[in-house]
């Protein structure tokens, strides 16, 4: 591959011209200057570059015409996003419903405690009721705490929604002119949604436990 600087410049120019013509929908054959250059140089390298350029273009054209991709970008992606958002909403509603019931049961538990307190000190029922009320209070706390799953799973699902959005935007961009015919309308630029944060820990991921975090913070004087 020892093309002279002059050959190199001429080749680059010829390839640029060819690419521009291919992109504007012109003939797929190599333009005369490039054909000449290819004839002049027996070098297999040039032929390979030319062949790769042609194949790349053909591949892009094939992709653009792929109706499946159009369907995925137009319907599949928005549908996936809607379903995921629906899951987040449903778990949120379920968690709030549970927390509502926890709140109501806390009121009931306090009523039991007040009732028990009104009994004589030596009444064995008093101690029993107070004990049960305390156990219930503790379990209600645990029940409330267990609703934490909604935040964690919600965060994970929201990250996937962002990914779906990115793939959709990339597909619409790739589909180019066809995008105008899609239900979702105009192409969107790929949003820079990366926060640089890892998000909730996933199974198999190496993360820090609360104990590790405590040790690390202590070493930093917190």
């Amino acid at each position: 591959m020892s093309a002279s600087a002059e050959d190199r410049g001429a080749l680059i120019e010829a390839l640029k011209t060819w690419l521009a013509r291919l992109e504007s929908g012109g003939s797929i054959d190599a333009p005369p200057p490039l054909a000449e250059l290819l004839q002049k140089n027996e070098h297999a390298f040039y032929r390979q570059v030319a062949e790769l350029t042609r194949r790349l273009h053909t591949a892009v054209v094939d992709l653009r015409l792929d109706e499946r991709l159009t369907r995925i970008a137009g319907d599949g992606m928005p549908d996936a996003r809607d379903r995921l958002q629906h899951v987040v909403r449903m778990t949120e509603q379920a968690a709030h419903r549970t927390l509502d019931l926890v709140d109501q049961l806390r009121v009931d538990t306090r009523a039991v405690t007040r009732g028990a307190d009104a009994l004589p000190d030596d009444d064995p029922t008093r101690a029993m009721l107070l004990h049960h009320a305390e156990t219930m209070r503790e379990r209600l706390n645990q029940l409330s705490m267990a609703q934490e799953y909604q935040d964690i799973t919600g965060q994970i699902i929201k990250r996937i929604i962002t990914l779906v959005d990115d793939v959709e935007a990339a597909l619409l961009e790739l589909l180019g002119t066809h995008a105008s015919q899609l239900k979702t309308g105009a192409t969107m630029p790929i949003a820079d949604t990366k926060t640089g944060l890892a998000g909730p820990a996933m199974p198999g991921q190496i993360t820090t436990s609360q104990q590790d975090a405590d040790a690390l913070l202590a070493s930093l004087g917190v």
């Binding site: 709030h96 934490e148 935040d151 890892a198 004087g221």
Partner: protein, 131 residues
């Protein structure tokens, strides 16, 4: 030791989590609690004054918890307000970043009531020691 009437701001974009933290704090005896759904809405509330303690998530739209922490630390009036971060971010780098930004405590989600109590106790014990 700790003033159960102290005014606490709970900042999280998930309403479920705000409610859980509020419930836990309530069970610990703290009832003077306000909520904000991200740093952007928390900041004017904090500037309004009167908050003794901030419990914040990290990853939120608008203004994140770490940005809120830095904004608080950069403010002359409320710069010393203790901040407890409660977040699913469990990477070493994040914990170091929070420590360097001046966080007073760091809890990794999922967490439990005992951890929350322990961290709050520790934060105010330290403040009492250095006061």
């Amino acid at each position: 030791m700790m003033d159960k009437n102290m005014k606490i701001l709970v900042v999280d974009d998930f309403s479920t989590m705000r409610r859980i933290v509020r419930n836990l704090l309530g069970d610990l005896g703290y009832t003077n609690i306000a909520e904000a759904d991200d740093g952007k809405s928390a900041w004017p509330m904090l500037q309004g004054g009167g908050f003794d303690f901030v419990v914040t998530d990290w990853n939120m739209p608008g203004m994140t918890g770490i940005e809120l922490l830095r904004t608080i630390r950069g403010d002359e009036r409320i710069g010393k307000t203790p901040v407890l971060m409660v977040t699913a971010e469990a990477q070493r780098e994040q914990i170091i970043e929070a420590a360097q930004a001046g966080v007073n405590g760091y809890i990794i989600k999922p967490f439990n009531a005992a951890t929350l109590k322990e961290k709050i106790d520790k934060i105010f014990q330290r403040i009492a020691e250095t006061a």
